[in-house]
């Protein structure tokens, strides 16, 4: 019957439009892989160059130092973390814009804006909170706070993109909470949370949706 096939087509079109207008689907798995690689590189730079092969670590001695004595160290770590962040964001923008172009879609849409706002609110809060921790000399909590707030940001943004982002966020939160129990292991948790989890996520997404 003619009206039946028209109804089926109508419903298909409705579902497709609902999906595309409410979820940002141009996020590329490659962004995850590159973010992970950058994070690991940043951690290695921190460990071998800034923390002097791990001989500088958080302990009673470090805590007894005044903020002045560790000032340059702090700034180097901040610069390192900020470079990782900026590079990751640039990579993910590049790959997402490329993917959107390839699919003939727009990158800047109401839903991508909404996703970014939802991502940025917890992320910026976490970033500012990290500065507070540095200022108040709670160095041991910086890695946990980075991971936890990043996880919350992903959970929040997950409503507007692939649902896998939501689960990645949950894993980041768990990693962050665990790292809070092990103050001396920040570099390892950082590599796992921002490095390995991102790479695994990116590869899974790339194979599932893009390859």
């Amino acid at each position: 019957m003619k009206s039946d096939t028209k109804s089926i087509d109508d419903i298909k079109a409705i579902r497709k439009i609902m999906e595309e207008s409410s979820r940002f689907l141009s996020l590329s798995g490659l962004s995850g892989v590159f973010a992970g690689v950058t994070a690991i590189a940043g951690a290695l730079v921190a460990y071998f160059f800034i923390l002097d092969n791990g001989s500088i670590h958080y302990d009673e001695y470090f805590r007894s130092l005044s903020a002045k004595e560790t000032f340059s160290l702090r700034w180097k770590l901040i610069a390192d973390a900020a470079s990782v962040l900026v590079l990751s964001i640039l990579f993910s923008l590049y790959f997402s814009i490329k993917k959107a172009k390839r699919d003939g879609k727009n990158f800047w849409t109401p839903v991508s804006r909404r996703m970014l706002i939802n991502l940025l609110i917890p992320l910026a809060t976490g970033g500012i909170f990290v500065i507070v921790l540095l200022y108040q000399n709670h160095i041991q909590l910086i890695v946990p706070v980075f991971l936890i707030f990043y996880g919350l940001a992903l959970v929040n943004a997950g409503k507007f993109t692939f649902s896998e982002i939501f689960y990645l966020g949950i894993l980041e939160i768990i990693t962050g909470l665990l790292s809070a129990f092990f103050p001396g292991w920040g570099v390892i948790f950082w590599i796992f949370g921002f490095g390995i989890l991102h790479i695994i996520y990116g590869l899974v997404m790339y194979r599932k949706y893009e390859a």
């Binding site: 019957m1 039946d4 109804s7 089926i8 109508d10 409705i14 439009i17 609902m18 849409t109 109401p110």
Partner: protein
């Protein structure tokens, strides 16, 4: 059985109107240009269908200025949401009912 066919709402017959309503069912508001890009239609075509939906009370228009640029966004009214749901159900019944 009478409900089955009569729930098919003539207002939503056109593909563009179906598209507009689909977008507004899952987004609180959506602006004109984004609608145009999502549905891949011309200005005039989209405007006339939006007008028709507005006149029948299915959608609301919010006009505001962002800086100096006028920005028109649309949202579905409660009536619009209810009627579109009914229309969807009728479509599904038509398919499932054979």
């Amino acid at each position: 059985m009478k409900g089955l066919i009569s729930d098919i709402n003539k207002v939503f017959e056109s593909r563009v109107r179906l598209g507009i309503m689909s977008v507004l069912m899952v987004n609180e508001t959506y602006d004109f240009n984004s609608l145009k890009e999502t549905l891949n239609v011309t200005d005039g075509n989209l405007a006339s269908h939006l007008k028709a939906l507005e006149e029948r009370g299915m959608i609301m228009v919010n006009k505001q200025f962002i800086g100096r640029k006028p920005n028109t966004s649309y949202s579905a009214t409660e009536t619009g949401i209810a009627e579109f749901r009914q229309h969807l159900k009728a479509l599904e019944n038509l398919i499932g009912g054979q």
